[in-house]
């Protein structure tokens, strides 16, 4: 290959890269769809979910200029308020469900989504050969456990080696002394070595040292619960929702942006999607029925049951065992439930009932009582919005890779030292927010170069009454 050819190929590659980021692209469309649309619009493009099926949506807007469709996608409510005929027609059909606004989507991104939607609807995407491409993004877990075993092993070997060398030295001394004809020479056994004063005092010293260290350490960790991962009433998997389906954390935990609490989502939020997705990928009806039984949704008629709170557990059981039975029949392609199948259905219901009830909550209906994982003491004030909206901290920084956790666990120690340390290290987003103009001195110092950054600790982030009041 000549030099020219290589250059040509390189040039073409660069060009294609540029083209990729500028022109509509079906892969970009897929990503945008997953990030923005998939929580409300069905992935198969043919069935309605919370929002309508997207197949053919461009055609449905054909009577209007393209810009109208773009505007609609970026902010549907504005168009409804402006009285656009198509918009008001759609609103009449779907209200009160409001489509989320996506003001940041570019025209190209929207066109990419159109490409993807049309591709999926027509069955031309994904291409069959691409099936084998792995989608997993998970990385193997770190070898923390294994490496500490190695450390112990090395420590053990070194200890054995030391012991061996010591006894060897003793042997040599003994050999030397006998060679010199010293009558006091005696050969010491390993046991004698181990019970010698120096070893015992060393062991005692080590015990006190490690004992003290362990006591202090354990005392510090009293009441802390890092890695706490209790079984929850529903086997909800963040890995499925946040990882596989890439649902934004803020979609369900909508308090994190604006409130002190991140907010455990109400069952009604689950229903936004699970009105349509009635069978879980892992557990079928076993877990999803718990949501229905909590809120009173009848998946067979797609309607909420009126007066659900006043129904008895028996009445509720009748509704949902019927649903579970129906689904069983569908999955196993049978028309009647055998005795064995009935037992399975009953077992499943028994699990649902026990998950949704406890001694002080005898009724199946009503809120799902999750086990709280992150427990700050009462004298600590923590505000999510300060960290998420103002500090622009990623959720993962404190909560770990939640999108990889099937069973959620507490990632951080939530200790004061941990908080303080972050406040020492984190830069305040000083330039972007007019609020910080109050700190004139710091702005001056940043300008004249005597200061390179303002840490949280510089604006009082280490002071008691920032968190304790």
């Amino acid at each position: 290959m000549s030099c020219k050819q290589v250059l040509k190929i390189l040039f073409a590659l660069v060009l294609s890269q540029v083209a990729l980021s500028a022109a509509p692209d079906i892969e970009l469309g897929k990503t945008s769809f997953k990030n923005n649309c998939a929580s409300c619009h069905n992935k198969n493009m043919k069935d309605a979910l919370t929002g309508p099926a997207l197949a053919g949506f461009v055609e449905r807007w054909a009577a209007y200029p393209k810009e109208d469709l773009y505007k609609w996608i970026r902010n549907s409510q504005a168009m409804i308020n402006a009285g656009h005929p198509k918009a008001t027609e759609l609103w009449a059909q779907y209200k009160p469900t409001v489509m989320t606004a996506f003001p940041n989507l570019t025209d190209d991104e929207i066109e990419s989504i159109v490409l993807y939607v049309n591709g999926v609807a027509a069955g031309t995407y994904p291409p069959k050969s691409a099936d084998s491409v792995a989608t997993g993004t998970g990385t193997p877990s770190s070898g923390g456990q294994a490496s500490s075993i190695w450390l112990y092993l090395i420590f053990g070997i070194l200890l054995a080696l030391a012991l061996f060398l010591w006894s060897l030295q003793n042997d040599l001394i003994y050999a030397k002394k006998t060679a010199e004809g010293d009558p006091s020479a005696s050969k010491k056994t390993i046991w004698e070595l181990l019970t010698s004063k120096s070893v015992i005092s060393f062991v005692l010293f080590a015990l006190v040292l490690f004992g003290g260290y362990a006591t202090v350490n354990n005392a510090i960790s009293l009441g802390r619960q890092q890695n706490y991962a209790p079984e929850q009433p529903i086997k909800f998997s963040h890995a499925t929702h946040a990882g596989l389906h890439k649902i934004d954390c803020n979609y369900c935990h909508d308090g994190a942006r604006r409130s002190k609490q991140s907010v455990i989502p109400p069952a009604s939020t689950c229903m936004n999607c699970h009105k349509a997705i009635k069978n879980g990928s892992k557990y079928g009806t076993a877990e999803l029925t718990k949501i229905y039984a909590s809120i009173g949704f009848d998946p067979m008629t797609d309607k909420y049951i009126s007066n659900y709170e006043s129904l008895s557990n028996e009445e509720i059981k009748a509704i949902y065992t019927k649903w579970i039975g129906e689904e069983y029949k569908k999955v196993n392609a049978v028309t009647t439930l055998s005795g064995d199948a009935q037992t399975q259905v009953d077992d499943q219901w028994a699990d649902i009932e026990s998950s949704l009830t406890h001694a002080s909550k005898p009724k199946v209906s009503g809120p799902i009582e999750w086990i709280r994982i992150h427990n700050l003491p009462d004298h600590v004030y923590f505000n999510h919005s300060q960290h998420v909206t103002i500090g622009k901290i990623e959720c993962q920084k404190c909560h770990g890779k939640v999108e990889e956790m099937d069973l959620l666990r507490q990632y951080s120690p939530l200790s004061m030292g941990w908080c303080i340390n972050c406040h020492r290290e984190t830069d305040v987003k000083f330039q972007d927010n007019a609020y910080y103009e109050t700190y004139k001195t710091y702005h001056l110092e940043l300008k004249d170069g005597t200061r390179t950054s303002v840490k949280v600790s510089d604006i009082g982030g280490l002071e008691c009454q920032k968190c304790h009041y």
Binding site: V263, N383, A434, E437, G460, C464, Q465
Partner: protein, 1064 residues
């Protein structure tokens, strides 16, 4: 010693430098309190031996280990369907209205997760203008009152048996028929819609009479206005337009008619702003020192029975100036005559810009007061009728008539509607008997009170925070009331009940909220004009207030019969001892008795809590000797009082400014059935009220005998007068030099001379400063000079590096205008509500254990028998060189870069060194687990007093707690935090909107509650802030500036406009 003392004092003991008193001020635990502890029979419960100690110790360690090892499973319970309005963790505010009888305030209700936790004033209101009162602030706690009646009930022998509302409705409609003679007896009803409901009820039952009465009556005023101006209303008083104010016994800043409104007006002409160095002059004509009187420039002392003569005398003076002659009031005491002459001069000089008011319940006297105002040309300027007030509508004469009818068997049914005639009337006993004679009696009252327990049925009303409603407090100034929580109990609104019993066709019974629909329908027909009712309604509801044009004439002609009035004023009694009865700031006429925040709020003047006390005159005998009437030597001594045959035993307080030959006592106490907080607190004097010839209740009695004190002190006498005293000075006997009290304690014979110069020779302490308006220039100059001297002393700082941090961002500070502060205590209650400050009870208050973060100190100055008063709100001063910080062994209290003196409860180990080292005495120690916040239930056991459990142990009561403020447990110190939770919230909201912080982002609870705007909080580093502007005032000073603690709270010098011609 002079008869006048310009340095100020707090009590007789301090004034005469009583040795025991001075010593008692030195020890943290008062000897009196210690005696009380030792005497206490409960002490036996505390006996324990070594074994118990070991058991407890063993338990303690194992429990601590267990508690910390085992992580308790906590549940996180989400909503099933999230309401769109509620975001957990974010407060919602709703505009509503506080109403209790004639008490009214437009409010904003702060709710968290659907429960109201705090009330703020609604600044859109043209009546209350964003102010509140102590009663308004405390009313949120009444929502969670465990004594509230929980359902409709049948009552037999005082015992309620729950029945359903349907059963009640059926039984009642079965008993009533079109001919039934029904008497609805209620307090003032300001709701137009409720009145409409009453009218509908009257249509169905034509023999119904709706009788309104006010426990503290203004019926004579209403009658006099009716006679003189042809309309039965309370005139629209405008204290802000008046240069001279003469008040005959009207406590218009504290309790009279519309105190929030009047206080805000009054303060406008009492504060000195910028170059405007003028203020109104206020004469108060009274016998006892009321809160309003304490704020006056001159108090003119007249006996209660002389009020009529005093008014008549003033009338004759004004009439003479106006060219008509009328000689009257000749039987008034000479001193008062002289003083009134001066007052008349001032009034006449400010014609059209003066105001005379009276709380008298005598039609002739009220007519004369109106005549005086008319002669002064005040009608239409300081007194208007266009926006007349409806805040008092009661007439006790109709009540007397109803009683006669009941006794004659002419009444079939009685409904009690927020009225308690079996307690708050002079003839309560007769009412108690009469109620038994009525076949059907229904009470709408919310607790099982004295009257409800005598009724057949209880149909409890909602709390106002659960109710729909409207109020027309002044003509055309409407406001709406909306529920901010689902009804906690199975209660029903009274007008709703009336409509149900009337079988009203306008009540949509199938609706979820029938009375809401009814209210809306009434507004549609009565107030709405236009096309879009929904948006009209939404905006009215959102704003909480709505203004209607009023076409009533502003200044109708005065048509009162003065000649007749002059003949009918009350005549002075020849009795040597008279008693006056007054409405206290807190518990009112008893309707607020079950609210512990109001019980624990000390009386502004007397400084007593949890009870009412007899005020005994203090006389100056010359040479540092004082004597109190009835031989009272010490506050709290029990006295035997005989009033017209009834005899009472109660504690006494030596009260400066109480007129010789008179005494006074608060009403509203001594409730027999008022729930756990109100029952049995204090003494009930309602039976000693008298009624004049025209049937109006008189709030004084001239037939009084008081036996000399036997020296026995009331058990748990809860007077906060000498608690947390600061800067007490003494005269050293040998040298006659003034020294600090802490030195005085050390001045022992053995150490004489040695202790001189102790603590840096600080022999002058500056707690408050005052000046007469005429000498303000000199006083200001002196102040500036003196402060310069202090500042020179104070150049040294303990924390040199702090300046850099203080200048970097915010620097929080406060300014308190002592000329605007009227001492009403609203801020103190607001602080308790905002900061989860516990209620401790009478016994603990008597032991100096009150927990209030903000107290209002009351100081006297001037004439020792009839002094002027300064009120000084005192809270943590957030000193830059804080003495508390450097004595804490665990660094639990330290300084923030924003100038806050921080307190970390979880770090505090309870040494109390900080409290001892605080020069302002504002730190409070949790002696007990008052709020049951402790992990160990053993600590909850109440050692604190009256009830079996601490007040906050009830889950219902705990709903009032502010979730953003830590609930402190036993053994830690707490104090004012400058509402740090509000500071943090305000900063966050500024950050979220990406803008600089502005004043309205951060306002402390005391600041927002204040009706007069006396408190300003803000960032002193921001030159644009309201605080920075207020700090630029030569009248400002720091309390105890000379001790170099560099506090952050500035006060202004108190300026009075005393008429010295009276003193001469």
């Amino acid at each position: 010693m002079m008869k006048s003392n310009e340095n100020g004092w707090v009590s007789v003991e301090e004034l005469v430098q009583d040795r025991n008193f001075l010593e008692s001020q030195q020890s943290e635990i008062s000897p009196v309190a210690m005696d009380a502890i030792l005497e206490d029979e409960n002490l036996m419960d505390l006996s324990s031996n070594r074994r118990d100690f070991l058991k407890v110790l063993g338990f303690g360690i194992s429990a601590a280990t267990l508690a910390s090892c085992e992580i308790p499973v906590k549940r996180a319970i989400p909503y099933v369907i999230a309401p769109d309005e509620i975001v957990p963790g974010i407060a919602n505010y709703y505009a509503s209205s506080f109403v209790n009888g004639g008490d009214y305030c437009a409010v904003l209700v702060k709710t968290r997760e659907g429960r109201p936790i705090k009330l703020e004033g609604n600044p859109s209101s043209k009546v209350t203008r964003g102010g509140t009162s102590a009663r308004v602030q405390a009313s949120v706690l009444s929502l969670y009152d465990i004594n509230r009646l929980k359902s409709a009930a049948k009552i037999q022998n005082g015992q309620a048996t729950e029945i359903s509302w349907q059963e009640l409705d059926a039984e009642l409609t079965g008993k009533l028929n079109a001919g039934s003679r029904i008497r609805i007896i209620g307090s003032t009803q300001m709701s137009p819609t409720a009145q409409k409901a009453v009218q509908e009820f009257c249509v169905k039952y034509p023999n119904t009479k709706h009788i309104q009465y006010d426990a503290i009556s203004s019926a004579a005023l209403l009658q006099a206005v009716q006679n003189s101006f042809g309309q039965r209303v309370i005139p629209d008083y405008r204290f802000d337009q008046a240069e001279t104010i003469v008040s005959f016994n009207a406590d218009f800043l504290g309790t009279w008619i519309s105190p929030i409104e009047y206080a805000s007006q009054y303060a406008k002409r009492r504060t000195l702003q910028g170059a405007n160095l003028s203020m109104s002059r206020h004469y108060q004509v009274e016998a006892q020192m009321s809160m309003t009187g304490s704020n006056a420039d001159n108090r003119i002392l007249v006996r209660p029975s002389e009020q009529g003569s005093a008014i008549a005398y003033l009338y004759s003076l004004i009439a003479a100036k106006a060219g008509t002659s009328a000689s009257a009031g000749a039987d008034l005491n000479d001193k008062a005559k002289k003083a009134l002459t001066a007052a008349a001069e001032s009034l006449w000089a400010n014609k059209g810009k003066s105001l005379v008011v009276s709380a008298s319940n005598n039609v002739a006297e009220q007519t004369l007061v109106l005549a005086i105002n008319s002669l002064l040309g005040n009608i239409g300027t300081t007194i208007g009728f266009n926006r007349a007030s409806f805040q008092r509508q009661g007439d006790e004469r109709m009540l007397a008539e109803a009683l006669k009818e009941i006794n004659a068997g002419q009444v079939d049914a009685v409904f009690l509607w927020n009225a308690n005639p079996c307690y708050d009337l002079p003839n309560a006993d007769e009412w108690a008997q009469a109620l038994g004679k009525v076949a059907t009696s229904v009470s709408f009252n919310t607790i099982m009170d004295e009257s409800t327990s005598l009724c057949n049925y209880s149909a409890p009303d909602h709390h106002f925070l659960e109710s729909w409603g409207d109020v027309e407090a002044k003509r055309g100034f409407l406001s709406l009331m909306q529920p901010t929580i689902q009804p906690i109990f199975k209660t029903r609104q009274s007008p709703h009940s009336l409509l149900v019993w009337a079988g009203s066709a306008n009540l949509v019974t199938g609706s979820d909220q029938p009375y809401y629909e009814y209210l809306k329908a009434n507004w549609r027909t009565s107030y709405f004009s236009g096309t879009d009712f929904q948006s009209f309604w939404d905006s009215a509801l959102h704003n909480g207030v709505f203004e209607m044009e009023s076409s009533s004439p502003e200044a109708p002609a005065f048509a009162g019969n003065v000649t007749e009035a002059l003949g009918n004023v009350s005549k002075p009694s020849s009795s040597t001892n008279e008693i006056s009865f007054y409405e206290p700031i807190g518990v009112g006429a008893g309707q607020y008795a079950n609210n512990p925040w109001l019980q624990e709020l000390p009386d502004p003047v007397m400084r007593t809590a949890w009870g009412n006390y007899l005020a005994c005159t203090v006389s100056f005998d010359g040479d540092r000797r004082f004597s109190a009437e009835n031989g009272v030597k010490e506050d709290g001594e029990l006295l035997e009082v005989k009033i017209a045959g009834s005899s009472y035993t109660l504690g006494s307080v030596k009260q400066f400014g109480q007129m010789p030959g008179t005494t006074s006592v608060a009403l509203g106490y001594g409730r027999k059935q008022a729930g756990i907080c109100g029952t049995g607190i204090g003494t009930d004097f309602n039976a000693s009220l008298t009624t004049d010839a025209n049937g109006f209740t008189q709030y004084y009695n001239t037939n009084v005998e008081i036996a000399a004190s036997a020296g026995k002190i009331e058990k748990h006498f809860a007077c906060v007068q000498h608690h947390h005293t600061m800067g007490v000075t003494a005269i050293e006997k040998s040298s006659g030099q003034k020294i600090n009290a802490d030195e005085a304690a050390l001045v022992d014979d053995a150490f004489k001379g040695v202790t001189k110069g102790y603590q840096g020779s600080l022999t002058k302490r500056t707690i408050f400063r005052h000046s007469h308006i005429s000498e303000i220039k000199e006083k200001t100059e002196a102040l500036v000079k003196e402060r310069k001297g202090h500042q020179h002393l104070n150049e040294q700082t303990l924390y040199p590096g702090h300046e850099y941090l203080y200048n970097a961002g915010h620097k929080w500070g406060m300014h308190i205008d002592l000329n605007a502060c009227i001492g009403c205590g609203t801020c103190a209650v607001a602080c308790m509500a905002e900061n989860n400050v516990p209620v401790v009870g009478k016994r603990e208050v008597s032991r100096h254990h009150e927990m209030t973060w903000l107290r209002i100190d009351r100081y006297y100055y001037g004439d020792v028998e009839n002094p002027n008063v300064v009120y000084q709100p005192m809270m943590c001063q957030h000193c830059e060189n804080a003495p508390c910080e450097n004595v804490c062994p665990v660094n639990a209290t330290n300084h923030s870069s924003e100038g806050l003196n921080q307190m970390a409860y979880n770090r505090c180990v309870g040494t109390r060194y900080c409290a001892n080292n605080c020069p302002y005495k504002v730190r409070r120690f949790n002696w007990y687990d008052f709020t049951t916040a402790d992990l160990f239930p053993g600590n909850h056991k109440n050692l604190a007093g009256e009830t079996d459990k601490p007040y906050y142990a009830e889950n219902l009561v705990r709903m009032v707690l502010n979730p953003d403020v830590t609930v402190r447990s036993r053994g830690v110190i707490e104090k004012c935090s400058f509402c740090v939770q509000r500071i943090q919230e305000g900063k966050l909201s500024a950050k979220k909107s990406q803008r600089k912080l502005i004043d309205t982002d951060v306002r402390t609870a005391c600041q927002t509650a204040c009706p007069t705007g006396a408190i300003t909080f803000g960032d002193s580093n921001n030159p644009e802030s309201q605080l920075s502007k207020k700090l630029d005032n030569p009248l400002n000073y720091l309390v105890l500036e000379e001790v170099n603690v560099a506090s952050s709270v500035n006060y202004t010098m108190k300026v009075n406009n005393r008429d010295h011609s009276i003193d001469a």
